[in-house]
Assembly symmetry: C3
Homo-oligomer: 139 residues x 3
């Protein structure tokens, strides 16, 4: 069994943002030498997501508006988590909707994605460097 572990680092200057990481995940798959296997990509932080959807700016805007409606940032006093001195409770909620991780098939040495599938990092409490884990196993 072959395996590879890599960390990808990201920083979004604003609190929230979306970054297309498909090419970086594909590069890790190539480095792994795995022809047939599975590729786990997960946020290592609990106020961020890795998800698969469209690389379309309008949709990224829609996600931002929609998540803010379902789990508003303000007033920060509405969340008991923020009594700890944090102001990011909403980010822990938004991340549950968008998910922690994706598991991607590897076929013939490449990510086995549908025509519009793109891998995204979703940040809901940014402004510092944070990590994504890529773990690949296969043969």
């Amino acid at each position: 069994m072959k395996h590879l572990r890599e960390e990808l680092w990201f920083q979004t200057p604003p609190r929230r943002g979306f970054i297309n990481i498909t090419a970086q995940v594909q590069d890790a798959v190539a480095r792994s030498g795995v022809a047939q296997g599975l590729c786990l990509v997960n946020a290592m932080h609990i106020t961020a997501s890795v998800y698969v959807n469209d690389a379309e700016d309008g949709l990224l805007h829609d996600y931002e508006v929609w998540l803010e409606k379902l789990a508003p940032h303000a007033p920060t006093s509405q969340y008991r988590h923020n009594d700890t001195g944090e102001d990011n409770a909403d980010a822990h909620l938004k991340r549950q909707i968008m998910g922690r991780e994706v598991v991607l098939a590897i076929t013939d040495g490449k990510l086995d994605l549908g025509p519009w599938e793109q891998v995204y990092y979703g940040e809901f409490d940014g402004r510092r460097r944070k990590r994504v884990l890529v773990k690949i196993i296969g043969a």
Copy 2:
């Protein structure tokens, strides 16, 4: 390491619908010859979901009503994604709640499911043929 890749094709005549795909996934597991492993089942389209829940018609109705409340289709002008000429922005949102994929354990050559776990394809922008990927690895 054994492995298998299959595509399942589905078409829901209305825009939205749910299809129980458990038997088809189980058939793929049998064909793989894998006794112990993992089975990834993911939508290859970004306006559809694969998820695990109950095979109960009332619940499928409840999901439809609930998703429409959390991410309404109309008015389509409320979503910037629809400025591209699409009218399916809501489907990209609904799919995030229901998820892209499930990873299922394979034990003794069979899907290792709890008593009520059924694998479903959830379609939020149908009316054409769309694909689900099954990728199995193990020994």
Copy 3:
């Protein structure tokens, strides 16, 4: 390829509750002897979740309040699923937001988690014993 399958059993006396299961999953990883691999942890019941987030009591309270807002338990008559004699339709909805499963990387024989990542069992229709499946594969 090495593999291990274990069931973890839980009972929450109230209908809803959250249990930190990180140590029990880590113990299973140790027993598996897998140095590099993947660890699937999934609820075997369809009104419960396994997810990764913060071990902070305020946040657990916030999840409870937020999920009740997005998918209220009462009035139970609002859900067609409850026409079957059940009163847990809301639990099937809440579980979709929090997710069925997590897939965790195993590196050097340990769960490869970020500094704040903790594995949780989320129960939305408790008051009886229910199971979580741990399936590990690797080398």
